[in-house]
């Protein structure tokens, strides 16, 4: 089941690291990096049902709020 309650142990630091990781990249390079990152995180999750929930939430977040 997808975790939607806070699960970061250092949310501000993690977010800052994400932004910093993109510094100096062109938009195309950033997109490519994001694609690699998504694949790496999907593999970390592993469970197909959780991945499906995450994708549905990402796609429909506006409709849900």
């Amino acid at each position: 089941m997808l975790e939607t309650k806070p699960n970061f142990n250092r949310p501000d630091e993690s977010y800052a690291l994400l932004i910093k990781a993109h510094e100096g990249l062109s938009e195309a390079e950033s997109h490519a990096m994001n694609a690699r990152l998504i694949l790496i995180l999907m593999n970390q999750i592993g469970d197909h049902a959780v991945i499906a929930e995450a994708l549905a939430l990402a796609r429909n977040v506006r409709a849900a709020t």
């Binding site: 997109h31 490519a32 694609a35 690699r36 998504i38 694949l39 790496i40 593999n43």
Partner: protein, 544 residues
Amino acid sequence: MRTPVTERYPLAFRLYPYVKSPDQTAVTPIRHKVVVAGGGPVGLATALDLGLRGVPVLVCDDQEGVGLGSRAICFAKRTLEICDRLGAGVSMLAKGVQWNIGKVFHDNRLLYEFNLLPEDGHAFPAFINLQQPLFEKFLHEAIVKAQSQGAPIEIRGSNRIDAVVRHEDHVTIDVMTPDGPYVLEADWLVACDGARSPIRSMLGHGFDGRVFEDNFLIADVKMKANFPTERWFWFEPHFKSGDSALLHKQPDDIWRIDFQLGWNIDRQKELKPENIRARVSAMLGPDVDYELDWCSIYTFQCRRMEKFRHGPVLFAGDSAHQVSPFGARGANSGVQDADNLGWKLALVVQGLAPDTLLDSYDSERVYGADENIANSTRATDFITPKSAISKLFRDAVLQLAETVPFARTVVNSGRLSMPCTYDGSPLNGPDVASFPARTRPGSPCPDAPIGADWLLRLLGGNFTLLAIDADVPTTFSACGIPLSVLSVSGRDNKALCERYLGNATSAVYLIRPDQHVAARFEHFDEEVVAAAVGRAIAKDVVDA
């Protein structure tokens, strides 16, 4: 005025020249039990299976033999096992090029390799490569041999089916020959007449699915080369001959090369020998001598008919479903259709099973077709990404795959044909959950060595009671069907134990004539097994 029968394509082998049949001068149309339309791999396998079961079958083909051109080349283990049951497996294996290993490259770098048969204890390899005309010729040789032993199979060349009218319990067929038209009747018609199936059109059935916007060039070349006997696939190859490329070895020094050309191409220009040679030479290097053997440009589609059974008309092979070539799921799934249909149609014709058994041909093979279409569509979306974002992810996977192991599992150059397990089939009977999952009801039986022989050879093509270190009667009949009884031991047979026993010490399996598991039990119980046989032939055992 009807058009005469013409040769639509050049032949590799003229196997069944036209001979005038007495049917053509009969006053009233002659009724046949089963007519098979089309003498390709699926039509020949269907006719052979029926004939070996003693069911009279007539094959009508509008040509007089096997067409030229390699076409399908990869024949899977399950296909070879089926052909072995039909008497053609040994000659196919002897001629074919055996392979188990695939390698996937990006640009000039090896991403990973895979072994399609990482375990021992199988009579047949994961795949052989064999030109389609040779595959058909071996099936035809097995038919000739079966005929000489009394199998009631007839093949009529230059017999083109021009019209089919469906009735409640039979069909009327208009046939054109070099001597003019005649009319036939058949209790059952099996349409194995290919992706453009004229019979499907005559009966007005749809064939819907997806078209993929890409062109692929096949260049079969003849050369002496020392590439290993493996499937090599390149994404964005360094030699720039296409967006992807594939290399495969066939018998007689023929090599299959595929290049992905993109959507907006000039077919005539790309098919000019000098343009094909430019691509091939860039791939092989300047010093390699070769001849072009057979070339073709193809596009492809993934689609199927909604139903494969329409009363007395059954569709099998490409006429019923079509996939992209990535994964070798076309001809292989067609032979599985024949395997699934043969015994069912035989039991119905012989009056041993209700005709509703044929509805399970529809449900099981539609299930198989959907699995093949899903696999083939996913491979195609990876090889030919259809949007910018799809390409972005594809490229990210390829980039990661070089150094990060998990990404290699997502790289998809075709998931190669595996037989499907008919989970949820109405024919499946009782299971024992603690037995191995791979032999659950609906599964194709995995092979295993039995002494100097092989399990699948010993199973043959009848309903079989397979007893592994279990007590069963030496003869057993149910629903009017005499079963074969095969008693084997798991002692000192690791493969058999792993595949059929798991942690159990004994087991009883009910195996269908197509060598799929129908049911399995801890012990033999006459009533329980008889009920499972009834279920496997769509017959309520109460009225058996």
